[in-house]
Amino acid sequence: MAVLKILFVTDVHGSETCFRKFLNALRIYKADVGILMGDLCGKMLNPIVKQPGGRYHCNVLGQNRELTTQEELQKLEKDIAAMGNYYFYTDPDEMEMLKKEGKSIDGRVDERAANISLSEGKIDDLFRKAVVERLTGWMELADERMKGSGIDVFMAAGNDDLKEVDEVIDNGEYIVNADDKKVMVKDHEMITLSWSNKTPWDTEREYPEEEIEKKVESLVGQITNMEAAIFNMHVPPNDTLLDQCPKLSDNLVPSTDETISAGSTAVKEAIKKYQPLLGLHGHIHESKGVVKIGRTTCLNPGSEYSEGIMDGVIITLKKRKVKNYLFVSG
């Protein structure tokens, strides 16, 4: 039996740079299979506001940028997309209107931008449009680049991803949407779960542990050979090296010196109970690592999407065993 080489990447959060690197890495690493797990959607929308005199204003990473030429604007668009943000062109009047629709948050939010408003109403629509456009572009790029490569590529959403994401992936010709079903990764059965347990952010796909347990059970029921199975589950198993993140106060201030386990107990119990060959996880960006739960090797390659760095892990499987793995960063 030949060695099967899988490249697993997760949580690119809208980063154009990371997605393109993922596609290119498949050939560079000579992977047989590529798996890109959610979260796929970015978190921020940068308005590029037209000013008098043909100038434009945009706040990126908390810094004000004033632009006049087409080259400057193109560079700005590229920079915003590279870090996973979206952009739209607007004028001061529309901006005033949008500000009123946004939900006010007291103080600064997130490390990468100042003066943020949570999306509501029309801003939500702008977000959905931007997400679909970016993802559609990715699917087209994959169709163009991967055809004839012989590399199987799977994608699935994560808890942060809008419902529209599934449809866009389904519409892609080359990439297979693996979410909520069993797919074959060569000789290995793989089940995929985009959900997470409850988070402090009330995200799109988060559910109580009891519901996750039921969902996992229904997916597990489709597996015929557990010894060679892969659990591709966005949320990592609870209380392991893969799910450690800063503890948050009631008003979402992260602690500098206290971490908590944010993974799913249902996922951990399922892994302990069924003992698949491999667990592939993400969700907690800063918890890159590997743990063994019984015979199952569980991996979280982490994410540095905002720096345009693609973090991943190459896994080699042979004779239904994990032969080796290597964390990569490109």
Binding site: R20, K21, N24, I28, C41, K43, M44, L45, N46, G62, Q63, N64, D79, A82, M83, K99, G102, S104, G107, R108, D110, E111, A114, N115, I116, S117, L118, S119, I123, N159, D160, S196, C245, P246, V253, P254, S255, T256, D257, T259, H283, H285, E286, G289, V290, V291, I293, E304, S306, E307, G308, I309, M310, I314, T316, N324, L326, F327, V328, G330
Partner: protein, 532 residues
């Protein structure tokens, strides 16, 4: 809503910023202020004529504009990247990244346990005994040989178990101990500050008469005779020499760069906390240094430093002369205050040992994940949720090191450890920042950096700061090599530098070959992937 510039979705990870004070406190935690001050105030004995205030100001200037910028800018530009290993491997080369990590996370952390764990026996217990009114002779057994080995082993084992118990417990212990250590320092500082020179001399002389010990002038004369005279004024040579221990007080806040992924708003907080940490630590040192000098006078400062480090014939007080012992004597050996001040020294020193376990195990874990180490480097104990095998490795290696130290104690060895760390970590990381704006393979990171537009005379501030930091490393290394006080260590520590770096390079190629034979090319771990 007037200033809204960006819109956000409801998505995980969107948090309010951590307070800068939290971040700064975390940085200060790694500086062990009361122990550092003890070490610096003892330095007059081997560096007579040192100008502490000037050294503090030089350090403040170079560290704020150099080292703090290095760790602040790199930490803020790569906030989830995990420290010097990643900065150097991404910006310079994986071998440099590994070499830096091998020296810092590997060798230096063992070396810190080697020299710092025994300080509890050599200095901590005698200080505590003196402050509690117990004859220091009763803990003499702990200051050398088998006694020192036993005390160091207890310190080492307790640190091991706390590290094994996990970060939650470590951080809880750390918070209590750092608060204690700062409180102890403040109490000592206030006591020394509010006491005049005249009343102290009177108190000393009365006590000397009572104990049949040396009076204040006799201490100065005795120390002066043994030191070959006390210089009348300060000199540059000793001031350069004292830069090393003074820098030690301020630079270890760089640890916050390693928790970049755990600090939200790192672009602001890591940067500012790095600066603030230096200011706070240097403030404590300058305050204690000036107050101690006011209390003892210039000659007294040197004489008491000599008394602290070397002792004097005829000295018969029942306590070791340190700034803590002196403060305790001034308040009439009040047991509560004495316990807080002496305990501050012990707990601050202990924290360094516990931190060495965490640093070593995390570094080795990272090598393992990149294929640059045995597979068991990445094993996490399901029972403890910690890299237990690596922690046991640190315990074994450090116990071997402690065996060596207990019978060959060398307090000044700490300076050599610092120099190795300065060259291997601060030096290379300064180079990384210096060239960061110009390196093609990390250009995309630089382009997204919030410091990209910070320039002076058209030159990126990153480059200038990297240069300043590198220049300071060179000044410190020069200071180390020109000091006669350190001359006895130069040869073998230079050999150690070369061996450790050589081992790191050999390690890299050995594991590259091993992984290649297993069908894994570890260079892929660092390979640049084109985004187009």
């Amino acid at each position: 809503m007037a200033n809204v510039e960006v819109f956000a979705r409801k998505a995980s990870g969107l948090t309010r910023e951590a307070g800068m004070l939290d971040t700064t406190y975390f940085a200060i935690m790694n500086n062990a202020v009361p122990v550092s001050i003890w070490f610096v105030l003892g330095a007059y004995s081997w560096l007579p004529g040192a100008n502490l205030s000037l050294a503090c100001l030089i350090t403040l200037l170079f560290v704020c504009f150099g080292f703090s910028m290095v760790w602040g800018m790199l930490g803020g530009s790569m906030p989830r990247s995990g420290g010097s290993y990643v900065y150097n491997s991404r910006i310079i080369h994986p071998i440099i990244g590994l070499g830096v990590s091998f020296c810092n996370g590997g060798f230096v952390m063992i070396a810190w346990i080697w020299v710092l764990a025994p300080w509890v026996g050599e200095a901590g217990l005698p200080i505590m005994a003196g402050c509690l009114g117990i004859d220091p002779a009763s803990v003499e057994w702990a200051t050398s040989g088998i006694g020192l080995y036993l005390v160091s082993t207890v310190v080492n084992l307790s640190a091991f178990f706390v590290a094994l118990a996990g970060m939650r417990i470590f951080f809880t212990v750390q918070k209590v101990f750092v608060t204690w250590s700062l409180l102890g320092t403040i109490i000592a500082g206030v006591i020394i500050t509010v006491t005049s020179h005249e009343s102290f001399v009177a108190l000393w002389n009365n006590y000397a008469a009572e104990m049949g010990s040396l009076d204040f002038n006799a201490v100065i004369q005795g120390a002066s005779a043994e030191m070959g005279g006390i210089p009348e004024t300060w000199n540059w040579s000793s001031t350069l020499g004292i830069l090393l221990p003074v820098t030690w007080v301020a630079i270890y806040g760089y640890i916050i760069a390693f928790i970049g992924g755990e600090v939200k708003s790192p672009r602001k907080n890591i940067f500012r906390a790095n600066i603030l940490n230096v200011v706070v630590c240097i403030f404590f040192l300058m305050w204690l240094g000036l107050a101690y000098k006011k209390l003892l006078g210039w000659e007294g400062l040197h004489a008491f430093s000599w008394l602290q480090e070397e002792g004097l014939e005829g000295y018969a007080f029942p306590f070791d002369v340190t700034y803590i012992g002196v403060a305790s004597m001034i308040v009439g050996f009040n047991k509560i205050l004495g316990f807080i001040m002496a305990g501050a020294f012990i707990v601050a020193d202990w924290l360094w040992i516990a931190f060495s376990y965490i640093a070593f195990s995390r570094a080795a874990f990272a090598w393992g994940m990149d294929g640059l180490g045995p597979k068991w480097f990445t094993d996490i104990s399901p029972k403890y949720n910690q890299p237990a095998k690596l922690l046991v490795t640190v315990l074994i290696l450090s116990q071997i090191a402690l065996t060596q130290y207990a019978w060959n104690p060398e307090v000044l060895g700490s300076i050599s450890v610092e120099v190795l760390q300065l060259i291997s970590v601060f030096g290379f990381t300064a180079i990384s920042l210096m060239i960061f704006p110009y390196v093609k393979k990390s250009k995309h990171i630089w382009d997204a950096s919030p410091y990209k537009d910070w320039k002076f005379a058209g030159i990126p501030l990153a480059t200038i700061s990297g240069f300043v930091a590198l220049a300071y490393v060179l000044i410190l290394v020069y200071s180390y090599y020109i000091q006669e006080a350190f001359a006895f260590m130069h040869t073998y520590w230079t050999a150690i530098y070369i061996i450790v770096w050589g081992a790191a390079i050999i390690w890299y190629f050995v594991f590259k070959q091993i992984r290649m034979s297993e069908g894994i090319d570890i260079t892929l771990a660092f390979k640049e992937i084109p985004p187009e």
